[in-house]
Amino acid sequence: MKTFIIRRFATAILVLFGVSILVFMMIHLVPGDPVLIMLQQSTAGPEAVAQVRRDLGLDQPLPLQYVYWLIGNNFVKVDTDGDGVPDAYGTHLGILRGDFGRSLFKKAQVADIITDKFPHTLKLTLAVMLISIPLGIFAGVVAAVKRETFLDYATTVGALVGVSIPSFWLGLILMFVFGVQLAWVRPFIGDKGLVTLILPAITLAAPFVAVIARLTRSSMLNVLSEDYIRTARAKGVRERYVLYGHALRNAIIPVVTMIGLQFGYLLGGAVIVETVFVYPGLGNEVVTAILNRDFPMVQGIVLFSATLFVFINLATDVVYTIVDPRIQYG
């Protein structure tokens, strides 16, 4: 088990290393001169362009740029005034020390913007989890137990609608009905306390409840046909305990994996729903950054959410090997 955890950890680091290279390369893969694109239509002269290039370290050879980006350049002298002679120590600390550079558009440190926006996204993610996990698991169990009854069909149809409804459309409809027409939920955009969480959380929960319910249902159906369930019933164990104590405990394993994946994805910011509700989270920020061609900002957020995702997955896997000794990993 120890070897598995070490190997799994090593893989996670390797994947993050790959992500960092791709994210770093992003700016260089852009067709054309990245500096000109970033400056957009500004009337910056060649002098200013050269200055931005030096500030971003784009005048260095590519591998060196990556190293500086990763671990910083405050220990080497770089050329800051464009005369070709290194004259001062660099100012970047590198992403490993949490320095993602400055946002080109907001004139602030990317890391500061992320720390500012992340709590909003975290709050929304937790709200989504709070709605979807109990509801999805409950619906899935009921559908499996009451198989081929009205409740089962209702869950199946509900799940189909949940996965098929486009989230931006659902968000807009909820906004229109409950925010504008009925005026039950006000305010409904931005983050102005718990009330503004309601509609975006429901919007994001809809497909999530659906997939949890579907997976729980099929997993429960598999487990309920196992011998040990019949044994438990034959022993006279109360049905409720058979369902929740025996069946669900085993059926829940794939569901928890899926919840872990989704949790990791949501923490990176729900791009579309946050935009619909003008919610000040990471998802909304990354869209703004892309529309503004604010590359350091995009790189920072992408790296941040990828890292969260990788570590949450790692944690899910490791917890399993500890909790469930039957699981054997290669």
């Binding site: 099929s218 869209v287 995009v298 995702f309």
Partner: protein, 317 residues
């Protein structure tokens, strides 16, 4: 799909006029067990929901393809009549008009062409790349498997829509780039599925036999492995079209896909959003409904195909 079908179909066509000398063969044929595709067809045709979904989908494809013939107006035509600005649904404009006095029904029909084309083309791209990556990874194993699997892991660290957005950030907004972005975001699912299936398939005896007869690895992959993994790929690719539509429409909704004035479902929604608070619901409701119905039909069809091909795949979702 046809090539796969031809390949696996092993039941010979029964002789239409059995002669006396053929009677032994004929009686054998009568008792010959039905082929795999017989059961696939029978199971699928029993699934009423999937059949209806398939018909609805065909209808949607036909309506959008025939848009130039059936659309009442030009999708970018701006009416001169000022009463046609933000007009609610009426007989002249069944789905109303938008802020630029354009007919929404016509825009929904034409917009579907764009949305569906982006989704279908990108899924085909994802299937081709995913099939190759997955087969190479599963068949050869070793370091090529390690490299491809880690690459897929890297792609999977971001949810589909965010990955697509990052690609758009590199390539710049636009329809073709959106297509590439949606295709790349679909690769991990297909590749992982194919890798798993290939791992199972490559250890079967007929592969060993083919190798003993001197077949090259690429020949074995193309002729033996591919037709056997394609079934689950068809199922998953069908369901992927639904995801692709949502991502493609999402990109346009964010202003990163189809650019104005050309219609696209997601872009129309994004435009309608500005008029939602003043009660102009029709600008948002109709394009959204189009996405919703199409995606639901594809999901139903995909579920039906999955049950028909291999009920065990049920546990994949």
């Amino acid at each position: 799909m046809m090539t796969a079908q031809d390949h696996t179909q092993r039941t010979p066509t029964p002789n239409p006029v059995p002669t006396v000398s053929d009677s032994a063969v004929a009686s054998l044929n009568r008792h010959k067990p039905h082929g795999h595709w017989y059961f696939v067809r029978r199971q699928f045709l029993r699934d009423r929901a999937a059949i209806i979904a398939g018909i609805v989908l065909l209808l949607i494809l036909m309506l959008t393809a025939l848009a130039p013939l059936i659309a009442p107006y030009d999708p970018v035509f701006q009416s001169e009549n000022s009463e046609d600005r933000l007009a609610p649904p009426s007989l002249a404009h069944l789905m109303g008009t938008d802020d630029l006095r354009r007919d929404i029904l016509s825009r929904v029909l034409y917009g579907g062409q764009t949305t569906l084309r982006v989704a279908i083309v990108s899924v085909i791209g994802a299937v081709v790349l995913g099939l190759v990556l997955g087969m190479v990874s599963g068949y050869f194993g070793g370091s090529s498997d390690e490299i491809i699997s880690r690459f897929i892991d890297i792609l999977m660290t971001l949810p589909g829509i965010l990955l697509a957005i990052v690609i758009i950030a590199i390539l710049g907004p636009g329809l073709n780039n959106a297509m590439i972005a949606v295709a790349v975001s679909g690769i991990p699912t297909i590749s992982r599925l194919v890798r798993g299936d290939t791992l199972v398939e490559k250890n079967k005896v007929y592969i060993e036999a083919s190798r003993a007869m001197g077949s090259s690895d690429w020949h074995i992959m193309a002729v033996h492995v591919a037709p056997n993994v394609i079934q689950s790929v068809i199922v998953v690719a069908t369901l992927q079209v639904a995801t692709a539509i949502q991502i493609a429409a999402g990109l346009s909704f964010l202003g990163l896909g189809q650019q104005p004035p050309n219609p696209e479902w997601g872009a129309m929604l994004s435009n309608g959003r500005n008029y939602m608070s003043s009660g102009k619901w029709w600008m948002t409701v109709f394009p959204g409904l189009a996405i919703f119905i199409t995606v639901m039909a594809i999901n139903l069809l995909g579920d039906g195909l999955r049950d028909a091909f291999d009920p065990r795949l049920r546990n994949l979702d």
